[in-house]
């Protein structure tokens, strides 16, 4: 299930603007990797290059290599739609489909891809909602609109929707930034469980969260506004938060910067 991501020499552009420059890193399978860094340093942009969502933005363009196990996501003949089925994504703001019920939201990935058996669908929905720790809260209202849930429940619904298509990698773009501490805790617990099955990459502005949930942490920074963002270092989370090898990382983490 879980796959390794190996990025080398990756640049991402918005039009002619170079947003992130020359990023190389490895993301281990069955682990949580956190991206931290100041706003605008390209964390989210980099995250979106990992499932080819970056090119959805008008003017978005990428060069470099992203290997998912032994396949280059930017190689010739690769179908971005197929890539996104392998590499799922959860967004900053909970975004359940407003026209669909809780059940339909979770089933959306399978239904819209058109390859499912009706009998399997119930099982997949239950399994995904259980996987997202949401089943007990919504099992009696599966046919109610998904947008009627609370913010934290909606975000877990989005996670259930993302894991229902059985991706290999789960990308999370600040999944807790719109949530209260209790919902955040629920999602963090969930991340701990999900890493048994998926490779997880999470962008966060909350350094305690990075320290709590991740195995490895990558620090991104940019020299100045208008300059491209760069990967400063990536290491075991414990190391980054106790004894980082680059001074800028220590400054950022200890709050002496930005």
């Amino acid at each position: 299930m879980a796959k390794r991501i190996d990025v080398s020499g990756l640049n991402a552009y918005y039009g002619s603007f170079l947003a992130i420059e020359d990023i190389s890193m490895t993301v281990e399978p069955r682990s949580v990797t956190a991206f931290i860094g100041p706003s605008g340093c390209g964390k989210s942009t980099f995250l979106r290059t990992l499932n080819r969502m970056h090119e959805v933005t008008p003017g978005g363009r990428v060069d470099g290599k992203v290997m998912l196990d032994d396949e280059n996501l930017y190689g010739a003949g690769i179908d971005p739609v197929a890539v996104r089925r392998e590499v799922g994504m959860v967004f900053q703001r909970p975004n359940p489909f407003p026209t669909m019920s809780v059940y339909d939201n979770v089933a959306a990935g399978l239904r819209l891809n058109g390859k499912y058996k009706k009998s399997q669908l119930d099982d997949v929905v239950e399994k995904s909602l259980r996987g997202a720790n949401l089943w007990n809260e919504v099992k009696d209202r599966l046919n109610k609109p998904g947008s009627g849930l609370s913010g934290g429940q909606q975000q877990r619904l989005c996670i259930a929707r993302a894991i229902a298509v059985e991706p290999n990698v789960l990308l999370m773009d600040e999944p807790c930034s719109a949530l209260d501490p209790i919902s955040t805790l629920a999602i963090e617990d969930l991340i701990g469980e999900l890493k048994e099955r998926f490779t997880i990459v999470i962008v966060t502005h909350n350094m305690q969260q990075a320290a709590r949930v991740s195995d490895r942490t990558a620090f991104f920074n940019l020299a100045a506004v208008g300059q491209p963002g760069k990967l400063i270092e990536i290491d075991d989370t414990e190391r980054i938060f106790s004894n980082p090898s680059v001074q800028a990382t220590e400054d950022y983490i200890s709050g002496r910067f930005g």
Binding site: M53, E86, L112
Partner: protein
């Protein structure tokens, strides 16, 4: 500045305020004064006393309020009064139009009138009905809708979801130009191509083509606005699930905006239903029932109204029929609008728990 405050030591936060019924009292006073002045001056027209009363209402509320409450509140009241006066002025023509149409229309509007054609009833005789005109209008408008909605919605989808660069700009520009085409020009265009060049006879379908030229830009514009309202996050959420773009548009974007699109289409239908010029050029008119929109002239409600009125020859019967048909047309459009609102509410994204 000294205010005529009621309390001897006013708090800085609490000024004197006029009671809630103050605007109503001023309005009533203004109407009475307006009537009084115009009677005294021997003015005949209703419009004159109404204008005097409006003026007195605005000035009166400013003056009294400025005395009691201070200048800022007075200006606030002036703005409010102006809004009310403008609202009432806008409402008067609408209300009087509906009142006149209903008053004159109900005389002959009954089951017989709706289910019989004119046939051989002469314009000057009583009797006859608008069945043939209703059939014609429904078929012409229906066909125009069938042509316009797919073209319009697909164009809007192209502009919002795919369109980049020159082509999209050109399409937007031409849609804007099309919005301004006068209906008679659209009629002449179809006349020159369909009837003069291709040598086809007048038919309901020819009228539908001209009507769809008028309808397409309205559908494109409204659909475009509705699609733009769909949050990008929903598109991204769907794409990130590995759903192809066309399915995302079909299953996520369109269902989210279907209420607004339907409303836009209904309004576009309402707009073309009353068009007379293209029908005059392309469909002509008949007194008999013609259910085939693809050959021979058809009747339609706007043409029927015009001809009954023009050919009444001083006959009360034709005059009454024209008003009854006008009432039917208004009712038809009103029902269409209500249906559109119903669909919009029914299809709107639900927020209930």
């Amino acid at each position: 500045m000294s205010h005529a405050t009621l309390t001897p030591k006013p708090s800085s936060l609490r000024g004197a305020t006029l009671p809630k019924w103050f605007p109503w009292a001023v309005a009533a006073g203004a109407v009475v004064l307006g009537l009084g002045i115009s009677t005294a001056a021997g003015l005949q027209s209703d419009i004159q006393w109404a204008l005097i009363a409006s003026l007195l209402f605005v000035l009166g509320s400013y003056g009294i309020s400025a005395k009691v409450e201070g200048r800022r509140q007075a200006r606030d009241r002036t703005a409010t009064s102006l809004v009310w006066v403008a609202f009432l002025m806008a409402l008067i023509p609408l209300a009087s139009l509906i009142w006149e149409t209903v008053k004159r229309g109900v005389k002959v509007l009954d089951g017989y009138f709706l289910t019989h054609s004119m046939g051989v009833v002469a314009d000057t005789e009583p009797g006859g009905g608008i069945y043939h005109a209703i059939i014609g209008t429904l078929e012409q408008v229906g066909l125009a809708t069938l042509i316009s909605v797919p073209i319009g919605v697909l164009t809007a989808i192209y502009l919002v979801e795919y369109g980049r660069g020159r082509l999209a700009q050109a399409v937007t520009f031409f849609v804007d130009v099309m919005t301004g085409i006068p209906s008679i020009v659209a009629g002449l265009f179809v006349l020159s191509v369909w009837i003069l060049l291709l040598d086809m006879g007048p038919s309901g379908f020819a009228g539908s083509m001209a009507l769809s030229i008028l309808m397409i830009p309205v559908v494109v514009r409204s659909t475009e606005e509705m699609l733009k309202l769909v949050p990008n996050e929903l598109r991204e959420a769907s794409l990130a699930l590995g759903v192809p773009k066309w399915r995302t548009i079909l299953k996520v974007v369109l269902p989210t905006s279907i209420g607004g699109i339907t409303t836009g289409v209904m309004l576009a239908i309402a707009r073309i239903t009353g068009e007379t010029a293209p029908v005059l050029l392309l469909v002509w008119v008949t007194n008999f029932i013609n259910t085939n929109p693809f050959s021979d002239p058809q009747a339609s409600l706007p043409m029927y109204i015009y001809l009954q009125f023009a050919n009444s020859g001083g006959s009360g019967a034709a005059y009454d029929r024209a008003w009854a048909a006008a009432l039917t047309l208004i009712a038809f459009i009103m029902i269409l609008n209500l249906v559109a609102r119903g669909i919009a509410r029914w299809k709107a994204p639900k927020t209930g728990r």
